[in-house]
């Protein structure tokens, strides 16, 4: 009897956990269904302007049409390529810049005010200059995606470099390790979690950069579809592109999270 009681309470506990999860999932699904049916219904009833706000049915119909003629994949592929390149390079350059500043403390003191200014400045405002300088093509859009994320990445990662427990570095130095070895063996691996969280933030930022870039100049991509839809007053197209972006951004975020779990599974400190 004494033996069965704990396992029974434990199974009760597990059951209550599972119930809680089911409740959360049902609520989430309910919000989803409610939102789209309300949208559909109010559009049908003309409570909202169907021209402006379209309706889920129209969006799905358009999406099926675009999938059937294959054109949507060109746009998705274009934007996705630009965003992935933008956010990977943004994180990479940010980390490299942070490493450079860490290596030369003098540089960090010199650059400090400039980093603050560059971080505060709205980077999208440089868009037009980029396009003139790099040409109206993929390069300038990717550059936009990088530019928007690189400074904040540098600041966040440099800060985490500096906060690494100095005694870890002392261990390396006591074995006669060089500065490069300190960086490679301690600073960089200790900051993997910070780099991953920068990656997460940059997923969102790069989408902003790339879409704005496509607004300014492009003949292809989801940003282009949005601006084109706006120009011809086809808001079904605008909303469809927006929903696709939301879906893709979420997927990318999930991917980074999966990467995080794989890389950092053993390091609960």
């Amino acid at each position: 009897m004494n033996k069965t009681t704990p396992s029974k309470t434990h199974s009760d506990y597990l059951l209550s956990l599972r119930r809680q999860t089911i409740k959360v999932r049902i609520s989430q699904l309910l919000i989803f269904v409610l939102f789209f049916s309300l949208w559909q219904y109010s559009s049908d009833q003309k409570w909202i302007d169907p021209l402006l706000f379209s309706s889920p049915k129209k969006i799905v119909a358009l999406l099926i049409h675009k999938i059937a003629d294959g054109s949507i994949f060109l746009h998705i592929g274009m934007t996705l390529t630009e965003t992935v390149i933008g956010f990977l390079l943004g994180t990479l350059f940010g980390t490299l810049l942070a490493a450079l500043i860490w290596w030369f403390p003098f540089l960090s003191r010199v650059l400090d005010p400039y980093l603050v200014i560059l971080n505060a400045m709205p980077k999208v405002a440089i868009g037009p200059i980029l396009i003139v300088a790099l040409g109206p093509n993929l390069t300038s859009i990717v550059a936009m995606g990088i530019l928007i994320s690189v400074i904040i990445t540098t600041i966040v990662i440099y800060t985490s470099f500096r906060n690494v427990e100095p005694n870890y570095v002392k261990v390396i130095r006591s074995f006669g390790g060089s500065k490069y070895q300190c960086f490679k063996e301690v600073i960089l691996p200790a900051c993997f979690p910070a780099i991953i969280s920068a990656l997460k933030v940059n997923v969102g930022l790069s989408w902003v950069g790339v879409i704005v870039g496509e607004f300014l100049v492009s003949k292809q991509g989801l940003g282009y579809l949005i601006i084109y839809g706006f120009q011809v007053f086809n808001f079904t197209l605008v909303l469809m592109s927006l929903l696709i972006i939301a879906l893709l951004a979420t997927l990318m975020y999930q991917l980074v999270e999966a990467l995080e779990k794989k890389l950092i599974k053993n390091r609960t400190l």
């Binding site: 427990e165 006591s174 074995f175 006669g176 691996p189 400190l269």
Partner: protein
């Protein structure tokens, strides 16, 4: 010829407002195989002195030499063990203990085998594939000892290596460290503020006074205590006598401080 020789070592720290003398005129020699403890109240610069001996910091005055070779940067024959284990949480235990060999570019089969044999010696061979967070504090500090010994240093600098552990683990680890160092014929310097630990483990105790840190007195430990393991030494009558003696000296240092 002394094994380790310190000649009038002094250390001064500068800040915008002040220049603080942490250590003044430390002259000391340690012979091969000797176990010396640096004992003193906090702020007497004993940990700083250890960092100077390890070559991690340069003294403002004086010099340190190991076998007549001047120490100006970390030396492969000097091992350093910190207050806490500071095992790298992202490396397995095996990678952690081999890190020194890797850094010194002498990671080969022979040295790896030697390091792994040390692991079985301290009874942690089966943890090699684990990560540090899966081990208890005492186990981790034992792994840190192996990491320090892996590069086969001739002299070990121990910076309060037991201070972060609970009392029981600490007593056990004292015996283990003492025994391991004796068997491998290592010279050691232990920094501690624990009188009992210093008496139980060392051959000689150097007592430091504060502001600035200076050698106040040196106590040789009796041969009865020296030949015993730390835990047994604590039971010996000589232990309490010596404890009393050092206690009074420390009281005097504190009195001098407040005057």
């Amino acid at each position: 010829m002394a094994f380790l020789q310190l000649k009038s070592v002094g250390q001064t720290y500068f800040s915008k407002q002040t220049a603080t003398t942490a250590l003044e005129d430390i002259t000391l020699s340690v012979s091969e195989g000797e176990f010396v403890s640096f004992l003193g109240p906090s702020g007497c610069g004993k940990s700083t002195l250890l960092s100077i001996i390890s070559g991690l910091i340069q003294p403002t005055n004086g010099s340190v030499s190991l076998k007549n070779q001047s120490i100006t940067k970390p030396h492969p024959k000097i091992g350093y063990m910190l207050q806490q284990d500071y095992l790298f949480p992202w490396k397995t235990i095996k990678d952690n203990i081999l890190v020194g060999l890797k850094l010194q570019g002498c990671l080969n089969d022979e040295r790896t085998a030697y390091t792994l044999s040390l692991m079985s010696e301290i009874g942690l061979y089966d943890t090699l594939d684990k990560y540090p967070n899966e081990l208890s504090g005492g186990m981790r500090q034992r792994v840190a000892l192996v990491r320090t010994l892996a590069t086969n240093p001739q002299i070990l600098l121990l910076d309060e290596p037991f201070s972060a552990l609970d009392y029981q683990t600490k007593l056990k680890l004292e015996d283990l460290v003492s025994n391991t160092l004796r068997e491998h014929g290592k010279t050691a310097i232990l920094v501690t503020h624990d009188i009992g630990e210093a008496i139980a483990m060392s051959d000689r105790i150097v007592l430091f006074s504060t502001k600035p840190g200076r050698i106040f007195r040196t106590f040789p430990v009796t041969s009865h205590l020296r030949k015993r393991l730390p835990f047994e030494a604590r039971q010996h009558p000589d232990y309490s006598v010596m404890f009393q003696q050092i206690w009074e000296e420390l009281e005097q240092i504190e009195q001098n401080d407040t005057e």
